[in-house]
């Protein structure tokens, strides 16, 4: 029974949460705090804070941890599966259909029409990241990190992995 509940608790946010993992956070809270009472609000915010401090997608980290807490390894697996599988299966089916017809002018046009909208979505996301940085560490540190990472990434073509590890080290030393 608990496994069925774990499945439902993460299946619903996975299928209703538009806009990527972070958009599903309030939906997960609704299920695990309000409906099933597995966590208190404080516990939930602790899980969320830890999830934000660690790398990787947020929705699956929460599903994995809360699933593990409620139902062990199997619970974790079910929570993650319920989060990931439904939307992934839909995605594969739709994109496979598109890919089969990728030389048709209609499909080419679809790509062309949607691209500017994606640019806007990415642009807004960029702005959010810069605003968060400014609010968290102030304008000076934000500018230092922006300029340094821009030069490293775009002028010197350093792999993002090294730039991120560098930023982590910088943060541990100078932003602590």
């Amino acid at each position: 029974m608990i496994y069925w509940h774990i499945f439902l608790a993460f299946f619903i946010p996975g299928i209703v949460g538009y806009g990527g993992g972070p958009a599903s956070i309030p939906l997960v809270e609704n299920e695990v705090v309000d409906r099933y009472g597995w966590l208190s609000v404080t516990e939930f915010s602790e899980v969320l804070a830890m999830g934000n401090a660690l790398p990787g997608p947020i929705a699956t980290k929460m599903a994995g941890y809360i699933g593990f807490q409620q139902g062990g390894i199997l619970g974790a697996a079910i929570g993650v599966f319920a989060t990931v599988a439904p939307s992934l299966i839909l995605m594969i089916i739709l994109l496979s259909v598109l890919h089969r017809h990728k030389d048709s002018p209609k499909v080419k046009r679809m790509t062309n029409y949607v691209r500017p909208t994606i640019a806007v979505l990415l642009g807004v996301m960029t702005l959010n990241f810069f605003t968060t940085a400014y609010e968290g560490i102030g304008i000076l540190q934000t500018l230092i990190l922006i300029i340094a990472s821009f030069i490293l990434l775009e002028k010197w073509k350093v792999h993002p992995a090294f730039v991120i590890v560098g930023a982590l080290a910088y943060g541990a030393i100078f932003l602590a």
Partner: protein, 191 residues
């Protein structure tokens, strides 16, 4: 070998993507388009567009589909596994052992320092998408759709899925015309 590459590519994406799934978009782009060349820019744009249209976490949708394209069902499971498992294990270990970890100043410092760096990556990706739009649609139509999208998304708070769905539908039902007829119809394309 392909499975090893897939695992490594998405392992790096999972371990370096701070700030949830969306921050891993530029990292996936780097691995899939630039490093391993499993997809070209167009394919990646399609994946991103559809990923934004469908519900659920974006990082695992991208990993799953790209893994599937590169190496079938096993590739799909491999890529999703590589994206999420390392950090889930980390999360379980840390939350069950030392729960004061996140309050350590150097840990929060690390998280904060990564935010502007991801911002820069997203900014360059944004610029890539805009340049590509300009090249395929022309500067006027590209700006038209960018402007209309911005207003609809940010001022009227349309859901992106609705806007993308509408554009896809419009591209699909529009009749194929000769070059001359294009301009008039495309004006309506900005919605």
């Amino acid at each position: 070998m392909k499975q090893v590459d897939l695992f490594l590519a998405f392992f790096r994406v999972g371990m370096l993507g701070y700030g949830g799934g969306p921050s891993s978009i530029p990292l996936v782009h780097k691995e899939v388009v630039e490093r391993y060349k499993w997809m070209n820019e167009d394919d990646f744009a399609d994946v991103l567009a559809l990923g934004n249209t469908l519900p659920g976490p974006i990082a695992t949708k991208m990993a799953g589909y790209i893994g599937y394209r590169v190496a079938g069902i096993i590739g799909m499971m491999n890529a999703v596994f590589a994206t999420i498992t390392p950090t889930i294990i980390l999360m379980i270990i840390l939350l069950t052992s030392l729960s004061s970890f996140k309050n350590l100043p150097w840990v929060s410092g690390m998280t904060k320092a990564v935010v502007p760096v991801v911002g820069v990556m997203l900014a360059t990706l944004t610029w890539d998408f805009f340049k590509k739009s300009r090249n395929t649609l022309g500067i006027r139509n590209a700006c038209l759709i960018v402007g209309a999208s911005f207003v609809l998304l940010e001022v009227f708070h349309f859901h992106p899925a609705i806007l993308i769905g509408a554009l896809l539908l419009f591209a699909l039902v529009r009749k194929d015309k000769t070059r001359k007829g294009n301009e008039n119809v495309e004006k309506g394309g900005g919605l």
